[in-house]
Subunit: 198 residues, 2 copies
């Protein structure tokens, strides 16, 4: 959402950022079905033609706007020396941002569209899901290099085990997505529900 | 969806089941926004007034229809003698049913409504989320009595750790919700991502 550093950028880059910011703001204010390209154009101070130059549909624009917002959270946390520390430093800011505003509603609307539109579903995974999973995979790679986890660890299962519970609370809202919950999930996923053999 | 045992039931009970079946069938065919009470009434062979006797809105009806369908999966699995076995016998049929038809789409639409309507959100949790969580809690209770897990285990975190990844794949569709994935999730959640101290 920040406009810092826009000075000196090419005008098209500024317009692009203004459109993303306007779309993100509108998505947080109202349902996806009530966000129109007209409203985005008006809020961003550009023409609809300018928007359509980059985004064919409002759903594609919504994806990029949401990704741009969420990507302001430090995507590659520093090496804390342990997988536990790395995961906490990846997931805690993510959970804070996700629960700070009505992103659950925005996400649910995008998922609903993805569920009935295979083309959009592919975009959703490519633009939104996979980039973050790639970042988390890098942490597991680091843990493998440290010798913390065996080379054969099923990293895709581990990613679902960590992100799944966070999305679950964000979308279902049966309990709050707190710092404490993130820590509990990381601890339980790393150490297991069953007590160790020791 | 079965009509077995309807003979001999009071007529109102038969009408109620016909409405639930019709709503479930329509929800699987089209988007929630395109399912009308008129269409449900026509499919079920009842009047709209009959539907409104039990359900004030189509969202409430959709919840009950979905819950009735999913509840056909054995809710209290037999005691297999271990938490691992109990969880597999709870979650595997659930995952098979959930991925057998476009339930991801139905769920996403209900979640979208829940996210923008607090009254419906409460209904969603009471009618749909909590009953199944209570069933899973009973398995953890059994495991505590067996001495498999310590009495202080954070069962609500454990439930999110198990259901979260399944819902994550069902809703995001980045990878399939297979029997093997359920087993991987149960194993990793119980044993932990980190190797044991042994």
């Amino acid at each position: 959402m920040t406009n810092e550093g826009n000075r000196g950028r090419p005008r098209s880059q500024q317009a692009r950022q203004a459109i993303l910011d306007a779309a993100a703001a509108l998505l947080l204010e109202r349902a996806l079905s009530e966000v129109s390209m007209d409203a985005v154009a008006q809020r961003a101070g550009v023409s609809k033609a300018t928007i359509y130059r980059w985004w064919p549909t409002k759903e594609a624009l919504a994806l990029d706007a949401l990704y741009a917002e969420w990507n302001t959270v430090r995507p590659f946390p520093r090496d804390t020396g342990s997988l536990r520390g790395d995961l906490l430093s990846l997931l805690r800011p993510w959970a804070r941002l996700a629960s700070s505003r009505p992103y659950g509603r925005v996400l649910a609307a995008l998922l609903t569209t993805a569920q009935s539109d295979p083309v959009f579903a592919t975009e959703y995974r490519q633009r939104f899901v996979e980039p973050r999973r790639d970042q988390a995979r890098a942490l597991f790679q680091r843990a493998t290099e440290r010798g913390e986890i065996p080379a054969g660890t099923k990293i895709d299962v581990a990613l679902d085990l960590l992100y799944g519970p966070l999305y679950h609370r964000l979308l279902h809202g049966h309990a709050p997505l707190t710092d404490r919950f993130v820590r509990d999930v990381v601890d339980m996923a790393l150490d297991g529900i069953l007590p160790g053999p020791a």
